[in-house]
């Protein structure tokens, strides 16, 4: 299988008329692990939502390709079928829809992208077996499969459920949006192991969006990027994480005064919204 890449070029994104991303360039090849860091309001989540196709995020310029598929021209469900996965920072609760039912529909659609609406879902027997195995690996009680998706889940349970979905959907590319936030250290380890297992088996390209070094001890990136003021201003290796951990963002601020100004505007927007 040839390795695909996720190529983002000069991406500009606005939300409610406000320009957030101002020319993001990033290429991830399958099998690679990247970390995207940056202060609050720098646009990290905007990048993930825009790539997944949330209707509130308007692409004003630039391109995003997964292999030779132009992501920006297709619906979110088609992006998922093309092999893109986003583990949400705040997954929505879906009352009345069990996790098993939700995932059976998801797995069917992603694995059989040409299936017509109304045709059979994947076999219940095989699905259950696979789901149970993946839940065991993530240390989840099988009772979760019968619960309504994310309803009444704790923060940690939601994150685990996101990684379970990742494990079931086996995407070509996975974006983990602050998957470590709200997790204790043991949960970070379990969830990270889950991500690594999928990445290793599927050659998934992983983009870890995070504030903290912690999760990067478990999901070790070869490439680290710093998003600042709506642009990726620094590209490097794991040493960038150490630098940020030690020195914070002050040096970035000093080095990129134009972006710092944008960052200040964006941050004030975050605070007032």
């Amino acid at each position: 299988m040839s390795r695909k890449s996720l190529r983002i070029e000069n991406l500009h994104v606005s939300v409610e008329g406000k320009s957030i991303l101002r020319g993001v360039n990033l290429t991830i090849n399958q099998g690679e692990t990247h970390a995207l860091m940056g202060p609050n309001g720098s646009g990290k989540s905007t990048l993930s939502y825009a790539l997944m196709g949330h209707p509130n995020y308007e692409i004003t310029d630039g391109t995003a390709f997964l292999g030779d598929i132009n992501l920006l021209e297709i619906e979110p469900d088609e992006r998922a079928k093309a092999g893109l996965f986003l583990a949400f920072q705040y997954p929505t609760s879906i009352p009345g829809v069990t996790m098993a039912n939700f995932l059976r529909h998801a797995v069917t659609n992603v694995r059989m992208p040409d299936r017509k609406e109304g045709e059979d879902l994947i076999s219940m027997r095989d699905f259950r077996k696979e789901l149970k195995q993946k839940m065991d690996e993530l240390g989840m009680d099988s009772e979760f499969a019968r619960r309504y998706l994310n309803e009444g889940f704790s923060g940690g349970e939601k994150k685990r459920a996101e990684v379970l979905q990742l494990a079931m959907l086996q995407p070509a590319f996975a974006i983990l949006d602050e998957t470590d936030s709200g997790l204790d250290i043991d949960a970070v380890r379990v969830v990270s192991e889950g991500v690594n297992r999928v990445a290793k088996a599927q050659g998934t390209g992983v983009l870890v969006i995070t504030h903290y070094q912690r999760i990067l001890n478990y999901i070790q990136p070869q490439f680290v990027h710093i998003l600042y003021g709506g642009k990726i201003v620094e590209n490097g290796g794991p040493e960038l994480v150490t630098t940020l951990e030690r020195e914070g963002y002050d040096w970035i601020r000093a080095k990129y005064p134009n972006e710092a100004q944008v960052e200040d505007e964006l941050e004030s927007t975050v605070l007032t919204s």
């Binding site: 196709g53 619906e75 998922a80 929505t92 829809v97 659609n109």
Partner: protein, 445 residues
């Protein structure tokens, strides 16, 4: 000295030839003839509902022409075509339940299998009148008053046929029974009366479908349901209204539950052009309880109005009402609920909730919860929500590869899940789920 001024009788908007009707029921006992006569007098002295009446403020029946329907002459016996037409409806019920009764326009076309009933009676009104006359006499019109309004009075005067379930003291029927009240393309009027009586310590489950077969044509159901649940008796009653979209549905329904007794009462409101239903539960003895479930789904120009009451008349009684409605097209639902707690009904625990999912910009749901509490040591909660399918939910589904249309369908089905979860008659959950899915497919356009 004052001069007595006779109150002028209101003009009868829709005159009914009661004399003609009486000729068709000459074999009925005198007490019933008298009751009908009194009810007809009530009808003639009661004004036809208008938008000035609270319960009709949001429910406009000016386009309902009573004269379009034959009420006084008995309808012809159902033909073989009629029988064939209701076959699939009956089979769908017969597959899940022990035995049942089938009626077309209030006339029995298939009686229940008595060998499966034991000491229980499930039969039509005329037969019950002959075999259990005293019991019918004791209960008829005692729970639902003919004085409710002009339609209630008219029903009591001219009702024809109906279904009677009678479970004697101490008899517990484990298997669920069914009843099918059908309208067909040739039989378009059903004025039947439903009477359910569980004596003390009795138990039973009845699933009652109201449905049309054949082409949609103007139809009318002018009905009533009276339910009596004795001490420590337990009833599950499911009533799914699925008439076609040209049928007018007027129904007054009330249950009285005695000490220690319980009712689980599930209502489905899927069909009809316009429905106006009063569904009331009275908890008349200590520790009586009621669980009331409602599942509505409207499409096109349907209008469904429900007025519910939870009357707490004795201490330590509980009631729990959950109505859920989905609306598409230009349809409209009205729910007005009332929890009424009498002075002596201390330690009442009452709950009412109505949730609406509005699937189109032209649909409208009105929810009006209400409380009237005279006791001082009670727990009463109520609530209502109305909203559209959350786009964030749809996006979440899409992000997992599920197309938006499927996502919306699953969200709507999920919306009803917590009311299905309460219904303990398993096949009913499935049939409601299937009915809502069918309506959802219709309402998509």
């Amino acid at each position: 000295m004052s001069t007595a001024v006779a109150t002028p009788k209101p003009k009868v908007l829709w005159p009914v030839n009661f004399g003609e009707f009486q000729k068709s029921v000459t074999s009925e006992p005198e007490w019933l003839k008298d009751a009908r006569k009194a009810a007809f007098e009530q009808y003639e002295s009661t004004a036809w509902p208008t938008s000035k009446d609270e319960e009709w403020r949001r429910t406009d029946i000016r386009s309902f022409k009573l004269s379009a329907f034959e009420l006084v002459q008995p309808s012809t016996p159902p033909s073989l075509d009629d029988l064939n037409a209701v076959g699939p409806l009956r089979d769908a019920l017969a597959a899940h339940y022990s035995t049942g009764i089938v009626q077309i326009a209030g006339q029995t076309t298939q009686p229940a299998d008595s060998s499966k009933l034991g000491q229980v009676t499930l039969t039509d009104f005329q037969t019950a009148l002959a075999t259990h006359g005293d019991i019918i006499k004791k209960h008829l019109f005692q729970t639902v008053s003919p004085k409710g309004d002009a339609l209630a009075a008219l029903h009591a005067a001219i009702f024809r046929g109906g279904i009677v379930l009678y479970v004697p003291k101490g008899v517990k029927l484990e298997v669920p029974l069914y009843a099918l009240s059908a309208l067909t393309s040739t039989h378009r009027v059903d004025t039947s009366h439903t009477l359910i009586i569980l004596e003390d310590d009795a138990e039973a489950t009845l699933v009652h479908d109201l449905a049309t077969t054949g082409d949609s044509k103007p139809g009318l159901h002018l009905g009533s349901v009276e339910i009596v649940v004795g001490k420590n008796a337990h009833l599950k009653y499911v009533r799914i209204q699925n008439w076609d979209d040209q049928t007018w549905h007027f129904s007054r329904e009330r249950a009285v539950v005695d000490a220690g007794g319980s009712i689980q009462w599930t209502i489905g409101g899927l069909g009809s052009r316009l429905s106006k239903v009063n569904q009331e539960t009275a908890l008349a003895g200590p520790k009586a309880s009621a669980q009331v479930n409602g599942v509505m789904f409207t499409t096109g120009k349907q209008h469904l109005a429900y007025f519910t009451r939870q009357d707490h008349q004795a201490p330590n009684t509980t009631s729990d009402l959950l109505y859920k409605g989905g609306l598409s097209g230009k349809s409209r639902t009205v729910w007005k609920g009332m929890i009424a707690v009498e002075k002596d009904a201390q330690k009442t625990d009452a709950y009412q909730k109505n949730d609406s999912l509005v699937l189109s910009n032209d649909a409208r749901a009105d929810s009006i919860p209400g409380l009237e509490i005279e006791a001082n040591d009670v727990r009463c909660t109520h609530g209502a929500t109305a909203g559209q399918v959350d786009p964030e939910m749809v996006f979440y589904f899409q992000a997992r590869g599920i197309p938006a249309e499927t996502a919306k369908r699953l969200v709507v089905e999920g919306f009803f899940a917590n009311v299905y979860d309460r219904i303990s008659v398993e096949p009913v959950r499935e049939s409601l789920r299937a009915a809502v899915a069918r309506k959802l497919a219709i309402g998509k356009s």
